[in-house]
């Protein structure tokens, strides 16, 4: 079947097996391997992308269902060589260890901050309910999102934990 959609601002089209999942289309047909597959069953969130601005697990969607949609993946978040505030936050606050969950975490965090750029810790944790991380224990992920929120509000982010403890 033929599909066409916009991915990270670029019009793409091609023939796919109708049963191809969106995540496989992105990774295999378009080579956008930044979107990860952790479970294939909607649980881990590693495959999170934005479909028409709404965060979606791309393993629960067929490529052909995205016909005509605007997709944003982790590769499309930075603009003009500048990291997105969430990407910067994950960098500055060590929001990752192995990095497997990170593309999905960043896409979901960007979505939640687009809805509310000043969320409290509880809102951040609930907003990331559907994204599993086996490494970090989530603490630095929350800090990374808070950092990004501050940047998006044009405020100075809080000092990192490791400086607060003042050794």
């Amino acid at each position: 079947m033929h599909v066409s959609m916009s991915v990270n601002g670029r019009e793409v089209s091609g023939d796919v097996e109708p049963r191809t999942l969106l995540v496989h289309y992105l990774r295999e047909n378009l080579g956008l391997t930044g979107t990860h597959v952790g479970c294939d069953t909607g649980y881990c969130g590693a495959c999170t992308v934005h479909v028409d601005g709404i965060s979606t697990k791309s393993c629960t969607m067929l490529a052909v269902q995205a016909e005509g949609a605007e997709i944003t993946t982790i590769e499309g978040l930075a603009s003009n060589g500048e990291l997105h505030p969430v990407q910067e936050g994950f960098w500055e606050r060590h929001g990752l260890q192995c990095g497997f969950c990170t593309p999905g975490m960043i896409m979901q965090s960007a979505y939640l901050l687009a809805e509310d750029n000043n969320p409290d810790e509880d809102t951040i944790r609930h907003g990331l309910d559907g994204n599993l991380c086996r490494c970090t224990g989530y603490h630095n992920i929350v800090k990374a999102v808070q950092y990004a929120g501050a940047r998006m509000r044009s405020e100075e982010p809080d000092a990192p934990d490791w400086e607060e403890e003042g050794t």
């Binding site: 109708p18 069953t41 909607g42 709404i54 979606t56 629960t60 269902q65």
Partner: protein, 271 residues
């Protein structure tokens, strides 16, 4: 496999009329997971995401394609509460109430709300027209409904106005992304009429009618009435033991949860 994307209900019903065995796909959060778990791949898919009528929501009539994302931001109360507990934000962004109803899992979180509010399921087919089926006739068993071949769920119809009070809660092994071990919805009207429905404790949503009758007669229930209410709810449920929880835990938790929700109804301002 072939996939169609009708833009209107007529076209969707026509496609399903031509091939009643086709797989209907709404948000895909149940269907795609089944496929990934190795269910045979469907030959013909009818995707409803673009059907405009399906996303309509007027007062108590909620189109089958309305997502949890919209429901959780809708009028406060049991349905918004139930929607907020489904899956994760990404699942709520795509999963629909129609998909929840058509799946008819005993753990479907909107089901106790539908049952407690005595909502009806509107269904339609090309050849049979529109039918409005009471929830009790719609849910017939574990993942079984009275939907006929060629029929789609088109809307869930809630009473308008809703009861003055309606509260939902569920119990699972943790707070996030969890399938209910017990779920419950309690409604109470100004005249004291009380309804209590439970999920995950029987093949279909279950109403604890003896408990309802007893507590509806109490205008200002005190401790002993509340205790009796809780006992009657626990006595009414028919849970099983499975990997999520034991029969006896579910029985106990049903009574505790129903009582807690009733107390919220009694304490709060009308919705």
């Amino acid at each position: 496999m072939d996939c169609e994307h009708p833009h209107h209900l007529d076209a969707a019903l026509a496609a399903l009329g031509d091939d009643p065995a086709a797989t209907v796909l709404a948000g895909g959060t149940d269907v795609m997971v089944d496929l990934s778990f190795g269910q045979p791949h469907p030959v013909h898919v009818i995707a409803l995401r673009r059907v405009v009528e399906s996303a309509e929501w007027q007062e108590g009539r909620i189109g089958a394609g309305v997502t949890y994302r919209r429901l959780e931001r809708g009028p406060p109360g049991a349905l918004a509460q139930a929607s907020r507990t489904v899956g994760s934000p990404q699942i709520r962004n795509t999963g629909t109430i129609g998909g929840n109803v058509a799946t008819a899992s005993p753990a479907g979180d909107t089901l106790p709300v539908i049952a407690a509010c005595d909502a009806a399921i509107e269904v339609a087919s090309r050849d049979g027209g529109v039918r409005v089926v009471s929830w009790a006739d719609f849910f017939t068993g574990v993942k079984q409904t009275s939907l006929r071949p060629g029929e789609l769920v088109t809307a869930i119809v809630f009473p308008d106005p809703m009861p003055a009070h309606h509260e939902f809660a569920k119990i699972g092994v943790r707070n996030a992304m969890v399938i209910s071990m017990v779920s419950a919805c309690v409604t109470r009207s100004e005249d004291g009429t009380t309804r209590v429905a439970l999920g995950s404790v029987a093949p279909t949503p279950l109403r604890a009618t003896a408990a309802e009758e007893m507590i509806s007669a109490e205008t200002n229930p005190g401790e002993s009435a509340l205790t009796e209410f809780s006992r009657l709810v626990s006595a009414a449920v028919r849970p099983i033991t499975d990997h999520r929880g034991t029969e006896s835990y579910r029985r106990h938790a049903s009574g505790v949860l129903a009582r807690r929700l009733l107390e919220r109804c009694l304490r709060r301002e009308p919705r």
